[in-house]
Symmetry: C2
DNA sequence: GACTTTTAAATGTATGACAAATGAAAATTA
DNA sequence: TAATTTTCATTTGTCATACATTTAAAAGTC
């Protein structure tokens, strides 16, 4: 692991973080291995302890290391779990959508397309637990007087259950961003009682088809749901436009 | 933005980073807005400048802020681009796969399922550029004496072109991890000349079907390719097993 | 007016000190 | 001896201060 102290264009702490990150990704440093102490690292890289610390904090922010205080403590290579990765994925996806003015259509298209890709596996592997979760959420969604926020949260839970039913952690991870990051966008849409009824009907169909292991029918409903969601968004945006003009 | 200095369980720098991150995600801090200087922040949070700096480095590691030196410099909220996010996505995905002993089948299934989800849009929106890229990669793959590494790199480029042809940046982002993180796993498989021929034939079919905007046929080939890849992996693993036993 | 120099402000780095946590080892006790 | 307590060295977390470096605005110069 080497850095270039003469490279004035990059911070030393960034260079050190990159060097260690590369060592982790390439497998030179393995899970639960202990890095040298901050003092030792500052000797090795010939920088101050502050600089080393800033580098380590960068790595900690990416869940690449964890630190422990006390004797025999130090920085350890962290086994990054799917659970941990979800959070980062959701944060990044949320910001990508909000900061890059991604249109509702584009986000919606991506979400339902990838969810549809889960359908065949979900139909094949769903357990009673998955179905129970989905039906519980449908029941929750049918409650009158449910706030828009709670409705959306339940909607997210329903779709997460669908994705999780595919029992492929890689797909669950990839989709975590798509599904959860959409929530703020979905909140834009005010769900009238009428809209909710329609969506609940579609959710019920999905649960039933999944119960019967009919993948194609699940996919078909997802397409309908996608189209309907886009229509809703279109109407809301049009109404706002009209309001602005008038 | 507040922190709890009495919470002994969490580092102050982590608390501060979280406070600022939440402000960014919730939209209280907007793109290109300048954070207070490190001195001002250390006054506000009543911590030392070092602690503030460690918090800022955490945020910088997630591309949430960028810093600029000099007068009128400082830390600015960064507009995180899809490009930037790709890199993080690939790093995280790679580590998720390697550290969690994700089986080849699971990774492969996720990759091709999501790629298949792109097919309808790719067939509809592919440009001459996309087709040209794909055909160039096919030509590259047909070169005799191509190293396994180069072959895999070309394979990744081909599939990235397919995903990009869908012209949905959200899907491209989500899939970046799946496709690129698979490369080390794919490298496990030694591609004989015979194998390459088969894959090139399938790649050519994909390009042709995409040219003709025949989405269903593209999907069918992807399924074939997925199955074939899994078979190859299975054989390689079986051969290694046999080698170990004998 | 165009160019150069100065200057103030900000981040980057270094050093030293102390606090707090922690687990091993040593000392103590039953 | 076995269990418990205390000591202690190590390591991270935090703070304070100093100086280097960068940068763009402001002042000065031709």
């Amino acid at each position: 692991m080497k850095i270039n102290p003469n490279d004035a264009t990059t911070d030393l702490s960034a260079q050190i973080a990159t060097a260690i990150r590369d060592a982790i990704v390439s497998g030179q440093l393995i899970v639960d291995e202990r890095l040298p102490s901050e003092s030792e690292l500052s000797d090795q890289f010939e920088v101050s302890r502050s600089t080393v610390r800033e580098a380590l904090k960068r790595l900690a922010a990416q869940s690449l290391i964890r630190t422990q205080r006390g004797a025999f403590g130090g920085a350890f290579i962290n086994r990054i779990s799917f659970e941990e990765a979800y959070g980062q994925q959701i944060t990044t996806s949320t910001l990508l959508l909000s900061m890059n003015a991604v249109s509702f259509d584009v986000a919606c298209e991506a979400r339902f397309a990838m969810e549809r890709a889960c359908a065949p596996f979900a139909a094949q592997r769903r357990t009673a637990d998955h179905l129970a979760t989905m039906r519980a959420e449908i029941h929750c969604q049918a409650q009158p007087g449910l706030s828009d926020e709670s409705w959306c949260a339940s909607d997210v839970s329903f779709h997460r259950a669908l994705v999780d039913a595919a029992q492929n952690p890689v797909m669950s991870y990839q989709l975590a961003g798509s599904v959860e990051a959409m929530q703020p966008l979905m909140n834009m849409i005010t769900f009238t009682a009428r809209n909710r009824e329609t969506i609940i009907r579609l959710h019920s169909k999905i649960a039933n088809h999944l119960d019967n292991k009919e993948a194609e029918k699940v996919e078909a409903v997802l397409v309908t749901l996608s189209d309907y969601t886009k229509t809703l968004a279109y109407d809301v945006i049009a109404a706002k436009q009209k309001q602005n003009d008038g």
